[in-house]
């Protein structure tokens, strides 16, 4: 980890019932973990024990958690790192609404009912010109308004990260114009643009070619001893990280979805001097306490 105090974030995967190690395991966790009050308690417990903020995909579940945190009166200075869109929710919605056209109609209604004038103006512009960059801006404005309305004024919206589905598609299809337009738009809003990816090596190569300023963006990507979801390989990702010391990379999946124990996971990420932060999900009070206590203690010894 870098010399400065790393950013420690609580992740939300357990709250959505996600386990990348085993879906069976996530089913056996039960429903409690998804309850907003319980999850809000876990987030704030993690904060009390050293976490700086909350990284989450913007969904009904996490918005309810943000509201619960606000209602507990504990949202002051909570730093938020939402990832949008919650792809799972939209794929599911598309299925239930009869495909992409049904989903598009539903989204238009949501934006209109959000009464966010800026989003509506952007959206109209995007629809008229069929401009994906304008449509993305509309969508992001809509999500920001949703998050702010639930989280309240005290919470700090530090960064909005594009979900891996959007990031990987933009990378694969050479959509440099979309990435640049998003970066510019977010910087003008005073929010750090971010990207979630499971193709970190590929992203670094493309962003360098496109002259994206790594100092101005946040990147969340897997780094773990097992090389889990580090594509094309752990070594390639480590090398890519080494060439962008100025980047703001937050390591996710440090436990490789529960495959690794916390001490060995921390030991590995400590060897990566260019990492600027870590995000870890917790599903129990004991996890929340122990995980962030240990992370904080280990980093202080760096």
């Amino acid at each position: 980890m870098s010399g400065r105090k790393p950013l420690l974030l609580v992740g939300d995967n357990p709250f959505h019932g996600i386990s990348h190690l085993s879906q069976e395991r996530s089913r056996t966790r039960g429903d409690t973990i998804g309850h907003a009050d319980f999850a809000a308690g876990l987030v704030m417990l993690a904060v009390e024990n050293g976490a700086d903020g909350f990284m989450f995909t913007a969904s009904e579940t996490t918005l309810a958690i943000l509201e619960a945190i606000r209602n507990k009166g504990t949202s002051k200075d909570l730093r938020l790192y939402p990832i949008v869109p919650y792809a799972y929710e939209y794929v599911r919605l598309a299925t239930q609404l009869g495909g992409m056209s049904g989903l598009a109609r539903n989204m238009a209604k949501r934006v209109i009912f959000s009464m966010n004038m800026r989003a509506m103006a952007n959206g109209l512009n995007g629809v008229v010109r069929m401009d994906p960059a304008a449509l993305l801006k509309t969508y992001v404005l809509y999500e920001i308004s949703r998050i702010k309305s639930k989280a309240g004024r005290n919470a700090r919206l530090e960064s909005v990260l594009l979900h891996e589905i959007i990031t990987e598609m933009a990378l694969a299809l050479d959509m440099d114009w979309l990435i640049k337009s998003y970066v510019d738009f977010m910087l003008k809003l005073g929010i750090t643009p971010g990207f979630e990816t499971r193709n970190f090596t590929y992203l670094v190569a493309k962003f360098r070619r496109w002259n994206v300023d790594f100092r101005k963006v946040v990147i969340a990507t897997p780094f773990n001893k097992a090389g889990f979801q580090m594509n094309p390989s752990r070594l390639d990702c480590e090398r890519a990280l080494a060439v962008v010391p100025e980047s703001n990379v937050v390591a996710m999946s440090i436990l490789a979805a529960g495959y690794l124990k916390l001490p060995e996971a921390i030991e590995y990420v400590q060897t990566l001097s260019n990492l600027k932060g870590i995000v870890v999900g917790v599903s129990k009070e004991r996890h929340a306490r122990e995980t962030f206590e240990l992370l904080k203690r280990r980093q202080m010894n760096v």
Binding site: S22, Y88, D174, G227, P232
Partner: protein, 341 residues
């Protein structure tokens, strides 16, 4: 390198590929094809004017077409067909008969019925090109390891298996809404994956009995239970449903019973329980699951890579149309036995 089925005898290092149908799967394959080093995505075809208008902004180097006949002007080596299942047969037939491309990749299932599937096999055979169907579970590391173990007879004599395919896609839709019906039936949509894996593991299977139920609306195929028999004394059971609320993501798996023990495999892990012989478990993490570019799941990248490699190198890639048509046959048998045909 000569491309399979091509009339061009000269060497070709880069393949020109088109995608027909720009839904979820079309977009996914387009992205992966675009990052493969020896592929050029030259055309995308979709009937929707809206999709094409957005597509023009996204696919700057590919032609956006509204009709597959126009692909004849583009000169492509291969076409990916990622449209809804009922259209697979008609599109493939047009592509072959108009000699638009000798190599075809069709998303699962191959066709809507076995007669169509047989005709598509015949057309593929005549084209001399590579044919493949998108049964991506075959490219999952846990299933590949499981198959290796079965081939090595790690379980001894296999007696029976239980296979499942569950999702919550339509667990909470309003009764009578009919949205599930618009996606076809659960047998093709979800069940075909696990049927293909079973056929790959155990060889030919025959349906003994089947029960297909409607949950979301009358006439919809929402869940199915199938009893099958295979080579020798092998018995198999399939349980398929897209109305299982507790399954956040679609899940597939098999439990295989043999004379030496039990093997359990799903997308995440593989377990070999040999009783006193010990218990071994492998997660994806243990089985070299990384790929050149991850989108959706690593299986998709491996699948596309294998198809391209086959076109350039001539190696047979599975599942071919012929192999995949066995799934169509099995599904049709299940429907017939359930009195649904």
């Amino acid at each position: 390198m000569r491309v399979m089925g091509s009339k061009d005898e000269g060497k070709k290092e880069v393949l020109d590929v088109a995608v027909v149908g720009l839904g979820k799967m079309g977009l996914l394959h387009s992205c992966i094809l675009n990052v493969l080093p020896n592929v050029r995505l030259v055309a995308v075809c979709d009937k929707s004017d809206l999709i094409r208008r957005v597509g023009k902004k996204v696919f700057k180097r590919a032609r956006l077409l509204d009709d597959i006949d126009k692909l004849a002007d583009v000169k492509v080596d291969a076409v990916y067909v990622t449209t809804p299942i009922p259209s697979h047969f008609f599109i493939a037939k047009a592509l072959y008969s108009k000699r638009i491309a000798p190599n075809l990749f069709v998303e699962k299932t191959l066709a809507s019925n076995y007669d169509q599937a047989k005709e598509m096999c015949s057309l593929a055979n005549d084209s001399g090109g590579v044919s493949m169907v998108g049964y991506m579970k075959r490219f999952g590391v846990t299933y590949q390891k499981a198959r290796d173990l079965l081939q090595e007879q790690a379980l001894g004599e296999v007696d029976s298996f239980d296979a499942y395919a569950y999702s919550s896609d339509f667990a909470e839709v309003k009764e009578g809404s009919g949205v599930a019906g618009a996606r076809g039936g659960v047998l093709e949509d979800l069940g075909s994956h696990v049927v293909d894996v079973a056929l790959w593991f155990f060889g030919d299977l025959e349906v003994e009995s089947a029960l297909v139920e409607s949950v979301t609306s009358e006439g919809c195929e929402d869940s199915a239970s199938i009893l099958a028999r295979g080579i020798g004394e092998l018995k198999g059971r399939f349980s398929i449903s897209w109305c299982k609320k507790e399954y956040r993501m679609p899940e597939f798996g098999l439990t295989v019973h043999g004379s030496n023990g039990v093997l359990r495999v799903n997308d995440d892990a593989l377990e070999l329980d040999l009783g006193k012989g010990g218990l071994k478990k492998w997660y994806r993490h243990d089985l070299n699951d990384n790929v050149g570019f991850l989108l959706g799941a690593p299986e998709y990248f491996r699948e596309d890579e294998a198809f391209v490699r086959s076109m350039l190198g001539g190696a047979v890639v599975e599942p071919t149309f012929l192999t995949a048509s066995k799934v169509d046959y099995f599904v049709e048998q299940a429907r017939t036995r359930a009195g649904r045909k």
